[in-house]
């Protein structure tokens, strides 16, 4: 067992017992070269500065599921907001102070009788302004195909065993809309603040592959 011999690395593993990752100095792909060429040209021509590019990357990285969780928690605690969110999600998000840019957003609500699941079978459309970058599995052919062929089996693999009596609705974001799931508020959360509730809302709960944590 490599972990039993932290000082040894003859077998190609690091002192912590994990294999060394190969250096990434392999040839660039066509699109990597293209990205570097376009970026350098934009900088050379004075259209963008490296600082602006770094700031934009920071802004993209700053988007996380916490934004979506805050919107969900507000909907759980404010029935008027929830009604507006289900009717016109972009306007409701702006009202809640969450900037979702030009995103065309729809919120689909889980109830005791209905469960919603989001997929983009064509590519990887995802409400990044509310959930950040999509998880790698969301972009795999396995998830993209199985979510519409055998969604209940997929849900079971995520730990969600949906009773047959619950209507499952899969949403394939094929075009201009993006979707998040408004999960059902867990039992035993009466009196909790919106901030405390937001901590229960997971990314997967808003994709529909999971349920919120229980307190």
């Amino acid at each position: 067992m490599p972990h039993d011999h932290p000082s040894h690395s003859h077998d190609g593993t690091s002192p912590s017992g994990h294999p060394y990752r190969a250096d990434n100095d392999t040839p660039l792909t066509y699109w990597q070269r293209m990205e570097i060429a376009v970026r350098e040209l934009l900088v050379e021509k004075g259209l963008l500065t490296p600082e602006e590019i770094a700031r934009q990357i920071d802004a993209m990285d700053a988007r996380s599921p916490a934004r979506g969780a805050a919107v969900v928690a507000r909907a759980w605690t404010d029935p008027g907001f929830k009604a507006r969110l289900l009717k016109d999600a972009p306007a409701a998000c702006r009202e809640a102070g969450v900037d979702i840019g030009p995103l065309n957003l729809m919120v689909v609500e889980n109830t005791p009788h209905e469960h919603n699941l989001v997929v983009c079978t064509l590519c990887s459309c995802y409400p990044r302004d509310l959930l950040g970058l999509p998880p790698d599995w969301y972009k795999t052919r396995a998830y993209r195909s199985r979510a519409v062929i055998e969604p209940r089996a997929v849900l079971r693999e995520f730990g969600v065993d949906l009773p047959e009596s619950v209507q499952l609705r899969v949403h394939d974001s094929t075009a201009d809309m993006r979707y998040i799931v408004l999960p059902a508020r867990p039992e035993g959360t009466d009196g909790m603040t919106a901030d405390a509730l937001a901590a229960l809302v997971t990314r997967d709960a808003m994709i529909g592959t999971g349920l919120p944590h229980r307190p």
């Binding site: 047959e164 609705r169 949403h171 809309m177």
Partner: protein, 87 residues
């Protein structure tokens, strides 16, 4: 009253945002979403005409037949008007 539509069973080349697994399938319009520029033209930097976009609801039974996991479960997908024929 539910409006029944069928997705045209076309297989054109190029950038198309109508999933192949729904072509030729019948569903009901869940809601109209308004008009959006046609991505089949936009993808090639052609002047894009606005197309009405609909959310169409299909049952698993309609899509997968006897192989459906749970026949009454549904898939909602966004389909542009020029891909739909009314029944």
């Amino acid at each position: 009253m539910a409006e029944h539509v069928r997705v045209k069973p076309l297989m054109p080349p190029g950038h198309v945002r109508t999933p192949a697994y729904l072509r030729g399938k019948t569903g009901v319009i869940e809601r109209a979403l308004g008009a959006f520029p046609n991505p089949e033209q936009r993808a090639y930097r052609l002047e894009a005409e606005d197309q009405p976009l609909y959310r169409v609801r299909f049952t698993m039974a309609e899509i997968w037949g006897d192989a459906a996991e749970t026949p009454t479960d549904t898939v909602d997908a966004e389909i542009y008007g020029h891909w739909l024929e009314r029944l």
